[in-house]
Symmetry: C2
Subunit: 430 residues, 2 copies
């Protein structure tokens, strides 16, 4: 039997049954969760699911309907005598989460409803050389286009999260970024926040990719996950106990800072010992890193095409990927040794270089580790960061929706604009 | 405002007010906690503290008294008219936790009551070359001596935890250990468990040192802590969100497996470039590592004495410690970069080599990191591992004492013998 502490410890301020408002919040949260996770049902079914009396459930349900969180569906045609029972459902469309992936060369947006069902998205190119103001203006324009295209109103957004390369401080400032010129020091959460009345969170892209892999990718059901986001520089994100581990300054996973870890300056690494022109290689790898086109199949073809354009043949492209894996292995192993995760997911632009990168990493990382580490390829392609951003935004929303252990508190340290939702009154506990 | 998720998420199975047994458990846990953490008080004071009615509090208190967890003290002499009110207190002596530090050369025991107040301890030498059976027999003998000396009965032990060098699997087996010959493969939790009827947990020593530093050492109030346990080999333990991070196979923190991290074979490192005889250096460092004598003061003296015996002068001893720090810096930095902790605490046998090691590590680690990492010396000396073991055992006890979100469950994955406590009925929730 594992000795790990239970994933979900007791709340810090003890609950007790003597406070009626605590009971009301417990009942409301339990009912809302049962309705959301269990699907549409009648009042009696819901009461059974939650374990409350029918009258209590009816009271709580009325409150949820008033708050716009529950709705009544047309009764199904009766199968027997008597009036068919009314059916109730969670109103997933009551609010939305917006995820934004602000990459060096591209912005990708995903809008989802409160159950995480994707309502739509949008992509646009970004000029990596453009000054921060222009990049942010381009992101804002993309948000407008995305909302118009999906028919989601801006005030229906309950939380927004954005991913970026680099280290992101707890206040949403990009404190370090080697990939986008001028991006360092940008107060991204504050800048983006001007466009929204809901909380806006900013997070490192590898961290969001890790959240996405656990939500809908290769790391479903794993609690301790390291996500390797392989690109021109390789970042890493970690989930511990199912939760993102950001670190004190938002810099967790930056083990690539040590040059011997082999996670930085991939371009330089790849051309060592080849006849390839550095300039051409850099262009080719930027092409690899920025190429659109989702998570499609045996993508070594694609890598070959790109690398070929830079003067590499197919055999040399393979050799290059092997060399890349050899170079990255120590950094990936160091992270595996530091955290001993359940699994490592390898994603990011360079994973379109095909399964070869993942299988080479397996071959080279395992002998360096003490435990039999599991290494898998991402299943999410270039949607990982955007989806992870949606998940982060939804977590922010859920925090308020299902808060039972304490009332909403403006000094709550869970994020910039943390009090916005409760100020709006929309999702405040009754 | 930091974006970190709240430390204590909601319980996975939603609580609701419809289940009277949940209410009873909430009330019982809240009352017990108020009594333990708030100190002796009258019934009215307790009711006020918990926020329950006087009759409800009285009922819960009666139950706690029946379970041996609360006691009634002699009333204080009245200051006015009327009978003085009875006073109640948490019975810290109702149970005890035993912590065992099984080092290569020594076993150290600490017994504490349910509030963690140390009731006593014991130490004895171990022969590092003795076969596992003999070592375990010696530990058992020490436990007997310790219990006899402290007057604590064996059946009063509610949980036992032991620390050991090496990687410890979730089932308490030592799966890897380079320091003690023959120790690898020993099912330590099971072997020790034969001597006790309560849960017995086994944990890596650096992990326990980290727990101790947060409980009573240099890392009080820090949630994300890396503890560097510097000895002949240097291990590392990490707390994340205030909880020990063990990893999937119990191997988290073993970044020293990569030779370039400079955390292994300290002896070899220290003598490189000196005229010192390897044999003598090894003896000297083993002496440093096994020397008793607590956490005393400016211990460079001690290091000097030991190193002098191996043929080093004082100046050379200083140079050796500087060289050691230079060697360890990359490994410590890698862990800091991987986790971005709030602080790093440097402890373990070699820290008796004085503050010099810590200040040299500061000087060399910081330039390698992205964030301004805080590095401090341990305040606990050679008691860290034993105290950490007590903390681990107390956490195991608290888990049962304050469990409200679900009844005790034999399939509970919180540790070997996890069901023992509930079987005894002593701390089972009413």
């Amino acid at each position: 039997m594992p000795q790990r502490p239970p994933q979900r410890p007791l709340p810090s301020r003890p609950l007790h049954g003597g406070d009626p408002s605590v009971l009301r919040r417990l009942n409301s949260a339990a009912t809302l969760r049962a309705l959301r996770d269990g699907g549409e049902c009648t009042l009696s079914e819901l009461a059974r699911r939650v374990g409350l009396s029918r009258p209590t459930t009816e009271g709580v349900l009325g409150e949820l309907i008033d708050r716009g969180l529950a709705g009544q569906d047309a009764p199904r045609p009766g199968t027997g005598l008597g009036r068919p029972a009314r059916r109730y459902r969670f109103r997933a469309e009551a609010g939305h989460a917006l995820g934004i992936d602000i990459d060096a060369h591209r912005v990708r947006l995903v809008v989802a409803d409160l159950t995480g069902a994707v309502a739509g998205g949008h992509r646009a190119d970004l000029d990596v050389q453009a000054p921060p103001g222009e990049r942010i203006a381009a992101v804002r324009a993309s948000v407008r286009t995305c909302l118009a295209a999906t028919g989601v109103e801006r005030r229906s957004l309950w939380a927004v999260a954005a991913g970026t390369p680099g280290v992101v401080a707890p206040d949403g400032t990009v404190t370090s970024c080697t990939v986008v010129p001028g991006w360092e020091g940008v107060r991204l959460a504050r800048e983006l926040g001007r466009s929204f009345s809901c909380p806006v969170l900013v997070e490192n892209d590898a961290n969001l990719a890790a959240m996405a892999e656990r939500w809908r990718g290769a790391a479903r059901d794993a609690d301790d996950v390291v996500c390797v986001h392989a690109g021109l520089h390789t970042g890493m994100g970690a989930l511990i106990g199912g939760r993102l581990h950001r670190g004190r300054w938002g810099a967790a996973g930056e083990i690539g800072m040590l040059p011997e870890m082999g996670l930085r300056d991939t371009t330089a690494a790849l051309i060592t010992g080849t006849d390839v022109d550095p300039e051409a290689a850099s262009t080719a790898l930027a092409g690899l890193a920025s190429a659109g086109g989702g998570s499609g199949g045996p993508a070594l073809d694609h890598a070959e095409r790109v690398l070929e354009a830079a003067g590499w043949g197919a055999a040399e492209a393979t050799a290059v990927v092997e060399r890349l894996a050899a170079r990255m292995a120590r950094g990936v192993a160091a992270m595996a040794l530091a955290l001993d995760p359940e699994m490592i997911v390898v994603g990011g632009p360079l994973v379109r270089a095909g399964d070869l990168l993942v299988s080479e990493l397996r071959r080279r990382v395992r002998p360096l580790c003490l435990s039999p580490v599991r290494i898998e390829a991402s299943e999410l392609g270039d949607e990982a960061v955007g989806l992870g951003a949606v998940r982060l935004a939804l977590d922010r929303i859920d925090e308020d929706l299902f808060r039972v252990d304490r009332p909403s508190d403006p000094s709550d340290p869970s994020g910039p604009g943390a009090s916005d939702l409760s100020e709006s009154g929309e999702v405040r506990q009754a």
